[in-house]
């Protein structure tokens, strides 16, 4: 009886020790997470229901209603879909193709990989200024020079001033920086495909292109889906590009993220006050969209897995 009790008390002691030391160890890290991550997010969610930055009056969903009524927000929302459209046209296939090519070649693999990945090393802000200089409006700015001299265009375009071009140009800059990293992820997944599968279909007399469409692409399905979702999520976070390229962002290229920033730091209302609760509301809307896409992604993955199990 005594022994049993002692064993039990030892067990409790050990458990207590484990929990106590565990929590003690992570206290500093958790403090950082609270301070830098969870607190700001919670603060924004709560603030989005108040009338001003001092939390004076609780106004329910008024900020959300106001934000949806604003032309700038409507433009930002519309632009988001234009961004997604162009990023699917310009940015989706290129990394897939590069990844595939890298997995198939045997010559100068290292050189190609380094060159393709190089743009990923350059910081976002620097890339934006670089592309801003290249896509300048004058006929002597380099992109216009190339188009006029080599492609017979009559006169240069005002790339960043023209609402037709500004979003595609921003997407080109994003793709240039991001494609190499994505291509390497595709590459490693192409390399993981089991050779014996190709071998078997080769013996069945299937041509290389047949193998590509009937074997490779279906096997890459989940990778493609994952990177597609990540790409769409990253498009929702476009921020530096319109901010730098169009001097603070005109309605032609403004993004939700940039709008949230402007409400809190630069954009004043009729009385000359920063519209911080609106910024919070915009941030919350954006977070909900991103969370929604993420959940949709996990749902789709589960669906694929189940179907494969059957």
């Amino acid at each position: 009886m005594y022994l049993k009790r002692k064993a039990k008390s030892n067990e409790i002691k050990a458990k207590f020790k484990k929990n106590f030391f565990g929590w003690l160890l992570i206290l500093p890290s958790l403090a950082l997470f609270v301070f830098f991550v969870w607190y700001p997010i919670t603060y924004n969610v709560v603030l989005s229901f108040f009338n001003n930055a001092n939390f004076e009056n609780f106004v329910w969903f008024k900020n959300y209603a106001d934000v949806f009524g604003e032309p700038a927000f409507q433009s930002a929302l519309r632009n988001t879909f234009i961004y997604i459209f162009w990023s699917l046209i310009i940015g989706f296939l290129i990394p897939l193709v590069i990844g595939f090519l890298l997995s198939e070649i045997v010559h100068a693999r290292g050189v190609f990989r380094v060159l393709v990945y190089l743009p990923c090393m350059i910081s976002g802000i620097a890339v934006v200024f670089l592309f801003k200089s290249m896509f300048g409006p004058a006929d002597y700015d380099v992109i216009n020079v190339i188009l006029i001299r080599w492609f017979g265009m009559k006169e240069g375009a005002d790339w960043l001033g023209d609402p037709k071009y500004v979003i595609p140009v921003i997407v080109v800059a994003m793709t240039w920086r991001g494609a190499g990293g994505t291509a390497l992820i595709y590459l490693s997944n192409f390399q993981q495909i089991d050779n014996s599968i190709y071998e078997a279909s080769r013996l069945d007399g299937v041509s290389p292109s047949g193998r590509f469409f009937k074997l490779t692409i279906p096997m890459m399905k989940t990778t493609i889906l994952m990177l597609l979702i990540l790409q769409i999520i990253s498009v929702f976070q476009v921020f530096y590009e319109p901010m730098v390229m169009t001097k603070g962002g005109t309605n032609d290229s403004i993004s939700l993220m940039l709008l949230a920033y402007q409400y809190a730091f630069t954009k004043k209302d009729a009385r000359g006050v920063l519209q911080i609760p609106k910024s919070a509301a915009t941030s919350v809307i954006l977070s909900i969209i991103i969370l929604g896409i993420t959940i949709l992604y996990f749902g789709l993955m589960r669906f694929f897995e189940r179907r494969e199990d059957k």
Partner: protein, 308 residues
């Protein structure tokens, strides 16, 4: 006649075992042709990737007159580095680079220590309630941190004041992605190893420093490199909390943004060629890092699935 080079090339294709097309496919001429089409495409993509960087390096040697000349020439008239030195001195770039390296070094330390301890406790010690913490970090991972930039900047300035570097590196200690990299790595550790060292009388902290950390060297390298590039490239938070007035506190990316935006402002001597020079100076350290850590950077970007 004996042609060594051609023979070597044929040899390589005819030894290829892996991938969609292997040596037996290359017995057909059509497939060999498509292989060389692949190579040409890759050369094209590589040129597209490298061209803007080359253009930047070359153009940064041009004077304003050359940049604004109607007669566009690719190469500059001279390769004079004096304008670079002038810009460096006028804008106090020595101090700005030192600031940046200080932030980078402490960011790396903070990113490695705080995230690895958290991951060790959640993955191995597992105190009561560890699952809740894990789920909350996962949630933080899905919501981009820049979304809450206003409350973050208010909290940071209230606690640390303006112009402090402390928050700039502490914030990397609460990075959900680095935490997950560590956690996934620790979870693959054999349980018996931890048990054995506990039986040998090591306490939790000693297990961490004497057993876990030495074994985690590869993943520490990965997180260190990620934290290095992330803190070097970080712009928004430093921009907001370092203050626009005092140039001596800036980090490099704040300088790139603020100085470049002075082009055309009244009373500013900064011109278009200075912007290109500044961009060139800012990407040189990154290219050096890339050359040194090329293999680690490219492999790990891949193994961990996603970046940033």
């Amino acid at each position: 006649m004996y042609l060594p080079s051609r023979k070597a090339k044929r040899g390589r294709l005819h030894e290829k075992m892996n991938g969609l097309m292997s040596f037996s496919d290359y017995k057909k001429k059509r497939n060999v042709v498509s292989y060389w089409v692949f190579i040409v495409l890759l050369i094209m993509f590589s040129l597209l990737a490298a061209a803007p960087i080359v253009w930047l390096l070359v153009s940064s040697f041009k004077s304003v007159q050359e940049i604004n000349s109607v007669n566009y020439r690719f190469f500059p008239n001279s390769l004079d580095i004096r304008p670079f030195i002038e810009l460096w001195q006028n804008e106090g770039l020595t101090g700005i680079f030192i600031n940046t390296f200080v932030v980078v070094i402490f960011s790396v330390i903070s990113a490695v220590i705080f995230n690895s301890i958290l991951a060790y406790v959640i993955a191995i010690i597992k105190p009561a309630g560890y699952k809740v913490i894990d789920k909350m970090i996962l949630l933080a991972y899905m919501i981009p941190s820049a979304i809450a930039i206003y409350p973050l900047s208010i909290a940071v300035t209230n606690v640390f004041g303006r112009g402090s570097y402390l928050p700039l590196f502490l914030i990397l200690g609460s990075n959900a992605y680095y935490y997950m990299l560590f956690k996934n790595y620790f979870e693959k550790f054999p349980k018996s190893l931890i048990e054995a060292s506990r039986i040998d009388g090591l306490n939790n902290l000693k297990v961490f420093f004497k057993v876990v950390l030495p074994l985690a060297r590869p993943i520490i390298g990965v997180v260190a490199i990620f934290a290095m590039t992330a803190s070097y490239s970080d712009f928004l938070l430093p921009y907001i909390i370092l203050g626009m007035q005092d140039q001596s506190t800036w980090t490099l990316m704040v300088a790139v943004y603020s100085i470049s935006n002075r082009v055309g402002a009244s009373g500013s001597s900064i011109q278009l060629n200075n912007v290109l020079q500044l961009l060139t100076l800012s990407i040189i350290p990154q290219i050096i890092i890339f050359i040194i850590f090329q293999k680690q950077i490219m492999n790990q970007g891949v193994n961990s699935g996603m970046k940033e």
